[in-house]
């Protein structure tokens, strides 16, 4: 069960949304719920730790006199990096791009008439459902990466390889459809990821399950998306001994 939280300090909006969300969960008949409605962001932060993650959050964009929706979402993200965040806003001109890129927020719902809100909630829940189903096969194995203040959980299956570049301990992490560059050391990840990864060169750490072929003659390791990594002489002789 994936818990659902609704946090808005206006009672009518909160009740309306709770009603809509509960109804939609029933219609969709999936394993979401129970729906917790709270008015105070602090209570939400406390409740989050009592229940399971990932969770679904419907958050008001601002709580006058208290923390902003952005800060609240950032705090929630620290504990639940894979949760689903949807914002509730009074006006359509919300700077949503910031929320979408920075907090990986899913969507936003404009407070208004019941019909359009219902439609939007339905769309959100459906897309959450899709995402959860898409995640399922690779579940269990995540690699945790901390970049400055942000913690990310990356499915190990999506990692192609790590490459150390430059002198200043910069690592390049090649994922499917994504490229990360940050300060860290290859040794750290070699230790954390263990046997499933192969240090095929001083500055390369490759996901074994993503290797397509090892070209001994050219001293290259080819990955399943066509990218290649270098193969050191030491790793080559190790490889030959094993096979």
């Amino acid at each position: 069960m994936i818990p659902v939280y609704i946090c808005d300090d206006e009672e009518p909006v909160r009740e309306k949304l709770t009603h809509i969300v509960s109804q939609q969960i029933m219609i969709l008949d999936n394993d979401m719920g129970p729906v917790h409605a709270v008015d105070d962001p602090e209570i939400l932060l406390a409740r989050q730790k009592e229940n399971a993650v990932p969770a679904i959050y419907f958050l008001d964009i601002d709580f006058p006199g208290r923390i902003s929706g952005l800060e609240l979402a950032q705090k929630l993200r620290q504990y639940d990096p894979r949760g689903f965040i949807v914002f509730i806003t009074a006006h359509g001109d919300l700077a949503f791009e910031t929320f979408r890129l920075r907090l990986e927020a899913l969507d936003y719902i404009v407070k208004g008439d019941t019909d359009s809100m219902t439609l939007r909630v339905q769309k959100c829940l459906e897309s959450i459902q899709e995402r959860i189903e898409a995640q399922r096969p690779g579940q269990g194995n995540y690699c945790t990466i901390k970049i400055l203040d942000t913690v990310r959980h990356i499915p190990v299956d999506s990692i192609l390889y790590f490459e150390a570049v430059g002198r200043r301990h910069t690592l390049q992490l090649h994922l499917d459809e994504e490229l990360l560059e940050f300060n860290s050391s290859l040794d750290h990840f070699a230790e954390e990821l263990g046997e499933n990864f192969w240090r095929c060169h001083r500055s390369f750490l490759v996901n074994r399950s993503r290797i397509r072929a090892v070209h001994l003659k050219e001293q290259l390791v080819e990955l399943d998306n066509g990218e290649t990594c270098l193969l050191s002489r030491k790793a080559k002789s190790e490889y030959q001994k094993k096979n």
Partner: protein, 455 residues
């Protein structure tokens, strides 16, 4: 004289030369002294001097007269290696380009060594002879090197107070200019040893000293003048840019005004209709009207006002100007631009302003170039957080870029002559510790993120 006293004296002169070199080079760069690096440089310069002495000693032990190689060659080697080490250390310490710090190091080496040799010569020529050896050594070695160090500190202070580094850094805007400056500095540095090489027995006297003082002064003046000229040129260019930015801003304001005028016209018309409906008591009609017009204002003026709000939150003036110009350019090229800056961006960032501008410029240019031909869209997000500045630039595309090829040098979708931007972007970012980048595709947008840790 005891061996300990001799060693101490040699060490003293070496140390003070090293200190003077470091202090002056830092002064040229206009930074504050970092003691750890000073200590490191001190150690390195000892090692280099030790190496040269060791070679001489080795030759001596092997029965070869060390003077078979002219002392000037030893000097030249010593100076060059020391300058390179100093340049490297400063590059690490202040995160400046190596060419920049190396030139400062070379220049500093030139000044210190020339001044040092002139001062020692002067002291040796003009001081009366003493029959007490310790006193003689004191006058001949301790005084000149201490004076040298004092002079270096003074010069560094003056250079920093007069903001010489502004002119100096103007010399490094382009690669060709930087290389030329480095060569000139290096040639100056080599003058003394080379003269020693050509005429080994030129006796140091007052005229000789005057010549070198004149050389230092002339060299510095020349540099200062070129630098000022260059800085002037840059200022003119910057002013021209500011004018362009102001014009872009004016255009935005005018557009807004036009739209407000049209909006006013519309609203007047709409309201006269509404008044009629209200008089007739047509509640359903009024509700319909409310529904239709509630988002009308946002649709009409929302994006311009959001852009202005965003720009106002960027307190860092150079960055604001850059964004204004780029937004204007996008408007011209019919690329839709969305700018979101929710919180004021701090003026003080851990990345140097010029580097930040270059990064943002490269990312924006790439985004505009790669945005879809029809209905191009670029989104810019700047978010100041407590611990970092978050920057994201996203664009839509006609054909999805190949992410795995993106790290390759010179990758481009646009044919020859493109693709140098991204590699220099990576190079700049990798110079800063703690900075992280992320490149990914999301919802049909190509997103480039940059995280800069807060100071």
């Amino acid at each position: 004289m005891s061996l300990a006293f001799r060693l101490f004296s040699v060490g003293y002169t070496f140390s003070f030369t090293a200190f003077a070199l470091f202090v002056l080079a830092v002064g040229i760069l206009g930074r504050k002294i970092r003691w750890g690096y000073l200590a490191m440089f001190w150690g390195c310069s000892f090692a280099v001097q030790g190496l040269v002495l060791g070679v001489q000693l080795l030759l001596y032990v092997m029965g070869i007269n060390p003077e078979i190689i002219s002392y000037s060659i030893y000097d030249l080697f010593c100076y060059t290696v020391t300058a390179i080490i100093l340049g490297g250390l400063l590059c690490r310490a202040y995160r400046l380009p190596f060419l920049h710090t190396l030139t400062a190091a070379v220049l500093s080496t030139f000044i210190i060594l020339t001044a040092g040799s002139v001062i020692t010569d002067a002291v040796q020529t003009y001081s009366p002879l003493f029959d007490r050896q310790h006193f003689l050594v004191f006058i001949h070695f301790y005084v000149p090197y201490t004076v040298l160090f004092g002079l270096a500190c003074l010069a560094a202070l003056i250079l920093r107070k007069s903001e010489f580094y502004r002119y100096f850094s103007a010399m490094f805007r382009s690669r060709a200019r930087a290389v030329l400056t480095l060569l000139v500095s290096y040639a100056l540095m080599c003058t003394l040893p080379v003269i020693g090489l050509i005429s080994p027995d030129a006796a140091p006297d007052a005229g000789y000293a005057m010549f070198f003082f004149a050389l230092i002064v002339a060299g510095l003046f020349l540099m200062q003048f070129t630098a000022m000229y260059v800085a002037g040129q840059d200022r003119i260019k910057a002013q021209e840019e500011t004018i362009l930015q102001q014009q872009a801003h004016m255009a935005l304001l005018e557009e807004l005004q036009q739209e407000i005028r049209a909006f006013r016209h519309d609203v007047t018309n709409l309201f006269s209709g509404l008044t009629l409906q209200a008089q007739e008591g047509d509640l359903a009609g009024i509700q319909e009207f409310m529904k239709k017009t509630s988002s009308y204002f946002d649709e009409k003026l929302g994006s311009e006002i959001a852009q202005m709000d965003g720009l106002n939150n960027v307190g860092m003036y150079p960055l604001r100007s850059l964004l204004t110009t780029k937004l204007a350019k996008m408007r011209q090229e019919n690329v839709r631009a969305v700018l979101e800056v929710l919180h004021p961006v701090r003026e003080e960032q851990s990345m140097d302003v010029n580097d930040l501008l270059r990064c943002v410029g490269i990312l924006l240019d790439n985004a505009v170039e790669a945005a879809a031909g029809q209905d191009g869209l670029v989104r810019i997000v700047l978010l100041q957080e407590e611990k970092e500045l978050y920057l994201a630039i996203a664009n839509n595309y006609d054909a999805a870029p190949n992410l795995s090829a993106l790290t390759r040098k010179g990758y481009t979708t646009k044919g020859k002559g493109h693709g140098t931007g991204l590699s220099s972007y990576r190079k700049i970012v990798s110079r800063y510790k703690g900075c992280a980048t992320r490149t990914y595709l999301k919802d049909d947008m190509f997103v480039q993120e940059l995280h800069i840790p807060a100071v």
